[in-house]
């Protein structure tokens, strides 16, 4: 099958590429030709007119929870992949807090096998320690060989400094990063950010210093061991400052932020909407401002959704009883285009860096390029389409979004990957 995408804009900052009104011809998943007014064979070519749209190297969401194995009632590799495609992602990295957790080659192989037939590439992040318990190292060498792209005990931070030190020393051998959920367990028995709002709403506080302490610990340990650490879902102003200073010193630290943490604040919790309950929690306006600063100056490398599907029954519970987490795959890019691109926080090239190039560099995954003979892996964006989030239209199994009914400008229209085109909600 051949595809011809006509009259599109092609942007890839990694290749310093910016082409307007170009055609791109694809055959068997490979880019055959890039040029203007390309000729094609009518009989076996699907022609897609993309005037005013842009093609960018496939977006990768490096922090999602696909829930399989274990909680297939909330999400599966199949439904999570469809949600990813619908959100404009050609690839995701899935977190290891499944049941059983991703701490053996067998679970990695299960995930790789299940995802093989879907359009989205699924890269497993393996547990850093067995069962994410922080006691014994996971078999990192074997896990890498099976396909792990990073190690993390996400859901919690690696339990102690001593096991963290060993995990960093060991993973350094194979140059895979440690992804850290930064939270000091001893400070974490609350359900919203500590501030005047936690007092006003009567919810037990989760202080931001709980995040900062572990960010600092991890930075110091990365400096000491020379290993790479990636800070997941950064949410506090101080944590952003710590990462900024560490980068200046040449310490190998990178960071990601979620769309909800650069958009929403804890003021919203006055409605006790459990779709605003996540960990780390929504923080204050000042934290959001520092995060936007960090996105601008490069302190924050990536945008990742922390897509965390939960069943309706669980999210309908009383606030303290409801689980943490929100889905994000199908709103992430729209939020970023609305809040960052259109509000002039980031250029489109910077958005592409944070969604496509940087996550792959961190995870050692080849970066898709627009070149004749290369594998075709790209995301199709309409920067100006105005649309309203409708959770009922999600392809994810779960609907726990804080962004339902939000009006957005800029939309991912589809993806091309593995020789297949996903456009406007379906494989074509």
């Amino acid at each position: 099958m051949k595809y011809l995408f006509k009259n599109t804009t092609i942007i890839n900052p990694e290749q310093q590429l910016s082409l307007k009104d170009f055609d791109i011809l694809i055959s068997d998943g490979l880019i055959i030709k890039i040029g203007q007014n390309l000729e094609y064979d009518n009989s076996n070519t699907k022609v897609i007119e993309l005037k005013g749209k842009i093609l960018v190297p496939g977006f990768l969401d490096m922090h999602v929870h696909l829930r399989e194995p274990g909680r297939e009632d909330e999400e599966t590799i199949e439904t999570g992949s469809r949600a990813a495609a619908n959100g404009g992602f050609t690839a995701v990295a899935c977190m290891p807090n499944t049941e059983p957790s991703i701490d053996s080659a067998e679970v990695i192989e299960l995930i790789k096998n299940k995802s093989k037939s879907f359009i989205v590439d699924v890269y497993p992040v393996a547990a850093a320690t067995i069962e994410r318990k922080g006691e014994f190292l996971s078999p990192m060498l074997e896990l890498k060989e099976a396909g792990a792209v990073a190690f993390s005990d996400d859901g919690v931070a690696i339990k102690t400094a001593s096991i963290l030190k060993r995990a960093m020393e060991y993973s350094k051998m194979i140059d895979l990063p440690i992804i850290e959920h930064c939270e000091d367990e001893s400070l974490s028995n609350g359900s919203m950010n500590e501030g005047i709002n936690s007092t006003l709403f009567g919810l037990l506080p989760l202080p931001s210093v709980s995040e900062d302490i572990i960010v600092m610990r991890d930075i110091l340990m990365a400096q000491y061991t020379g290993a790479r650490v990636h800070i997941a879902h950064i949410s506090s102003a101080n944590a952003v400052k710590l990462v900024r200073e560490a980068k200046k010193k040449g310490i190998k630290v990178t960071a990601e932020v979620t769309p909800h943490h650069f958009t929403l604040t804890d003021d919203l919790l006055k409605t006790y909407d459990t779709n605003l309950k996540m960990n780390p929690p929504l923080r204050t306006h000042q934290d959001v401002q520092e995060i936007l600063e960090g996105l601008k100056d490069g302190t924050i490398d990536c945008i990742a959704s922390d897509h965390a599907p939960h069943s309706i029954e669980e999210k309908e519970l009383e606030f303290d009883y409801a689980p943490n987490g929100v889905v994000g795959l199908e709103t992430s890019v729209g939020i970023a285009l609305s809040e960052l691109f259109h509000k002039k926080v980031l250029s489109i090239e910077e958005i592409i860096m944070k969604y496509s190039i940087n996550p792959r560099k961190i995870l050692n995954i080849p970066i898709p390029s627009f070149a004749e003979g290369s594998k075709a892996e790209f995301t199709i964006l309409d920067l100006n389409e105005v649309w309203t989030v409708d959770k009922e239209k999600f392809l994810s199994k779960s609907k726990n979004t804080p962004f339902d009914k939000r009006l957005l400008t800029g939309k991912p229209l589809g993806i091309f990957n593995k020789g297949k085109l996903f456009l406007n909600g379906e494989i074509i």
Partner: protein, 306 residues
């Protein structure tokens, strides 16, 4: 002038006129409570469910009495917290109760925000009888009523709330209501039990109990939770009693003309010594009496809104 909101979820954002109206209405009901026949037909035909997810004796009885004295049909629905996880969800319970055509729900729950959630789940008027560490509005109203009875007015009145402010729904509701009425509010307790940002509410923080006694006209003394969890916030009961406990020597040394409130139940010998708990400054049992009148006022005002 009716109340401006059809629910009573907390004292935050309740306007002064509403508080005044509730206190004035309670006056009428208090007078009824002095009569030989303490029952009025005001809420005849109305059905009120007391939905208690947390153990409570006095608040539940106080509401129940208030409901009965207004001739409403009162139903108690108690759910032990332990069965919450395996039992019916809150949503299903509320939908079931609503299907029985109730007019009002009085709810107590250990999780903050649950009364607010109820307003989204059903059409009944919702009254918060205490939600987690958030608010307990009728307690604040009965405290204000008792203070007004003794002190006349709130203008320039200095009230200090003493104890575990961070884990108290009584404290927060009192702070909101007292500030709205024009009182000067301070809090006193170990610093680990004072919310970090409390001063943003316009509240003064005092760590010295003698100073709190000297500088205030009213002390509202909270119950100290004695279980292990609460003890994580202070070194020992002994140290608490020594530095924050209120006893008659302390009162006499500092000031005589002071009013002491306590929402009960009292830990005698901890936050209040027995001689203070039974002594001339306290109005603890008047609070209990006033509680029924206040709850009658709230039920009446909400129950007769269209």
């Amino acid at each position: 002038m009716p109340l401006s909101n059809r629910h009573l979820l907390g004292m935050q954002n309740v306007p002064k006129e509403d508080i005044q109206l509730i206190l004035d209405t309670a006056n009428t009901f208090k007078e009824i409570l002095e009569r030989p026949i303490k029952r009025v037909p005001t809420l005849q035909g109305k059905t009120i469910v007391n939905l208690f997810y947390e153990n409570s004796t006095r608040t539940r009885i106080s509401f129940e009495l208030a409901e009965k004295r207004l001739s409403a049909d009162a139903i108690n629905f108690s759910v032990s917290t332990s069965s919450v996880s395996k039992g019916e969800s809150l949503k299903d319970t509320v939908k079931n109760i609503e299907a029985m055509k109730v007019d009002m729900i009085v709810i107590r729950h250990s999780v903050a925000g649950t009364p607010y959630m109820l307003t989204k789940l059903c059409d009944a008027n919702i009254i918060n009888a205490g939600d987690g560490i958030h608010e307990h509005p009728t307690q604040a109203l009965l405290d204000l009523y008792t203070i007004r009875e003794k002190k006349g007015s709130f203008e320039n009145l200095k009230v200090c709330i003493v104890g575990d402010i961070a884990h108290s729904r009584v404290a927060l509701s009192n702070i909101f209501a007292l500030k709205t009425m024009g009182a000067k509010v301070s809090v006193c307790g170990p610093s680990t039990m004072i919310p970090k940002f409390i001063e943003e509410l316009g509240v003064e923080v005092i760590y010295n109990i003698d100073e709190a006694i000297q500088e205030n006209d009213v002390l509202n003394v909270l119950r100290i939770q004695l279980e292990r969890k609460a003890r994580e916030y202070f070194p020992s009961i002994r140290e608490y009693v020594k530095y924050f406990g209120i006893n008659s020597q302390r009162l006499e040394k500092n000031k005589k003309d002071i009013l002491i409130l306590h929402p009960g139940p009292i830990n005698r010998g901890v936050e209040l010594s027995s001689d203070v708990a039974d002594g001339p400054y306290q109005v603890i049992l008047q609070q209990v009496t006033n509680g029924v009148a206040i709850r009658m006022a709230v039920l009446y005002l909400l129950g007769t809104l269209n």
